[in-house]
């Protein structure tokens, strides 16, 4: 090691014997070889290969027992005539409509409340963030109980006090998707709050002071200063909640099993059913590529936009 250091100082590495040069090379890149090479192999096996293999699968009839055969575009063509797949995409889009704006709005409201100079803001922040780290299984179990479709269910009991008839909730094809969206809003808005909170803190306080001097009220300040200055955050949060909403699976698996009448069959739930309930793995691979294309388009919009407008402050 000492020799290596001296060689670097004298700058005569070319004149050194091959052994020493190798040693120096190892001293400099040893760590790269030892760690990066195995990790790259791991990356090829568990990320790159499955990605490519998945595409090959879409052109085959994959069977665990017996010969798998090449079928060309059969599964892709099937997708275009599969009304249930179209319904699954439509349900997912509908879910996004119920979910994205409320999650963003609630996240912003929570961020505003904890940013308003109240005491114990840290504790409240923790409370709002708690559902984010809690497993879907726990929250869904409780949510299903709150929204029981019987007269004795918690929400129905409350509605009963106001003289409103009992609702079916998860057993109603019109309401189930909304109840699931409500669950996701509660679960995720804590993390949108974190983004908005960071955004709020980066708005210079001079702007608020100037506006106050000009006589603007709190509502005016919010719509003229806070809301527009949060534009990069709005965009970023919109993208990540959209991507999240297209991958929704847990709540529909846990609470409705895709029903009633396929009203909560989302893309990923349909993919799961095709792949692992019907063992139609090749068709499930086609569906996973459709999901990938949708997410890719959303991500590309994000990259294009973030590169351009992230330096707004």
């Amino acid at each position: 090691m000492e020799e290596t250091a001296r060689a670097t100082v004298s700058g005569k590495s070319d004149a050194q014997p091959i052994g020493l040069r190798l040693k120096k090379h190892w001293g400099k890149y040893g760590m790269v070889y030892i760690f990066l090479v195995p990790i790259l192999i791991h990356f090829l096996i568990f990320q790159v290969f499955p990605f490519a293999f998945s595409l090959v699968l879409t052109f085959m009839d994959w069977r665990f027992i017996g010969e798998s055969e090449f079928v060309g575009l059969k599964h892709w063509i099937n997708f275009f005539s599969d009304t249930l797949a179209h319904k699954a995409i439509w349900n997912t889009v509908l879910f996004s409509l119920y979910y994205i704006i409320p999650t963003m709005a609630l996240g912003l409201i929570l961020a505003l409340t904890i940013n308003s100079g109240i005491r114990f803001a840290g504790i409240f922040k923790g409370i709002f963030f708690l559902p984010v780290v809690t497993s879907f299984v726990i929250i869904a179990g409780i949510w299903g109980w709150i929204f029981q479709g019987t007269e004795t269910g918690l929400v129905n009991s409350i509605l009963g006090v106001f003289g409103i008839d009992s609702q079916l909730f998860l057993s109603s094809s019109g309401q189930a998707l909304m109840v699931l969206a409500g669950l996701s809003i509660l679960k995720v808005s804590g993390s949108t709050m974190i983004y908005y909170f960071a955004g709020l803190q980066s708005i210079p306080s001079q702007l608020y002071e100037a506006a106050k001097i000009d006589g603007a009220g709190p509502v005016r300040i919010f719509w003229s200063i806070t809301f527009p200055l949060l534009k990069p955050i709005h965009f970023y949060v919109a993208i990540i909640t959209t991507i999240g909403s297209f991958q929704i699976f847990d709540s529909t698996f846990l609470l409705t099993g895709g029903g009633p009448n396929y009203s909560t069959t989302t893309i990923v739930y349909y993919l799961y059913q095709q792949g692992f309930a019907s063992l139609n793995l090749s068709y499930a691979a086609v569906l996973s590529y459709i999901l990938f294309f949708i997410i890719l388009i959303i991500s590309l919009i994000q990259r294009k936009y973030i590169g351009k407008d992230s330096s707004i402050y």
Partner: protein
């Protein structure tokens, strides 16, 4: 006036966000036959620890918890190690292909998990990994997001420490263990807490790779109880127990969660 509105709204929201957890605790302490009935029954009867006794004396539930611990603890520690080493390599080492490899990593992050699960299921069937821990541990030993976070963090640390150590004759591994790793502790903690949450709460992957009841992690196990008639109290007791590690980690590492979320957004 403004303060009153702020306090009123924050209290209201806090109550809404805590309600599910309160229901969980109350539900777990109620006699299982009544737990499914209306809330008005809740206050009319005595509380009981019967559900906890039932869950903890049930071998299968303890097995689920054990499985969850195995598939969480190993990835958490190996991610903290490998992500730091790789983050360091990508931040500080100059070698051919560095940029292109990193760029490929970042592109692959966009591939949704659900796309890889079908080919991985076929691969793991051939490896004999279905219903064994390898399926949930080996693919998770490092993570691209972790490497990204640590690289980002180390890039902002000046090279002076490293240079000084090099002049003193310290080798790469020594520099890494004595200087880089201690310096990175805050962001390593972030990677660890993220990895904990991702693995402890994962439902989708174990649902597919684990088909035997005794190999379920606690998420899949609780999911199998869900909706069974008269099981609400037991399910809530199980949920509460499985929530304890999450809650403790959250209590001690909350800062790392929120900072990590912000960092991952600053691409």
């Amino acid at each position: 006036m403004k303060r009153i509105i702020a306090y009123a709204s924050v209290t209201f929201f806090a109550a809404c966000f805590l309600l599910p957890f309160i229901i969980m605790i109350f539900g777990s302490l109620r006699d299982m036959q009544y737990a499914l009935l209306s809330p008005s029954y809740w206050f009319s009867d005595q509380l009981t620890l019967e559900n906890y006794r039932y869950v903890l004396s049930d071998g299968i539930f303890l097995r689920w918890i054990f499985n969850s611990v195995v598939i969480t603890v190993i990835p958490v520690f190996s991610q903290m190690f490998f992500c730091t080493v790789l983050g360091y390599i990508f931040a500080k080492k100059v070698f051919p292909g560095r940029e292109i490899i990193f760029w490929v990593f970042m592109a692959v992050v966009m591939i949704p998990q659900q796309l890889l699960i079908i080919p991985k299921y076929i691969m793991f069937s051939n490896f004999g990994w279905i219903n064994s821990y390898e399926a949930l541990i080996v693919p998770e030993i490092w993570g691209i997001m972790g490497v990204f976070l640590i690289r980002q963090y180390l890039q902002n640390i000046p090279n002076d420490f490293e240079e000084a150590a090099k002049i003193d004759g310290a080798g790469d591994f020594k520099i890494f263990m004595k200087i880089i790793f201690p310096l990175s502790i805050p962001v390593v903690a972030t990677v660890g807490t993220f990895s904990f949450i991702a693995n402890w709460n994962d439902l989708f992957q174990p649902l597919i790779y684990m088909t035997q009841e005794n190999m379920f992690p606690v998420t899949v196990g609780l999911a199998s109880l869900l909706g069974k008639e008269g099981h609400f109290g037991i399910e809530m007791a199980g949920s509460a127990i499985s929530f304890i590690p999450t809650f403790l980690i959250f209590l001690f590492f909350q800062r790392y969660f929120t900072e990590g979320i912000q960092l991952s957004g600053l691409k």
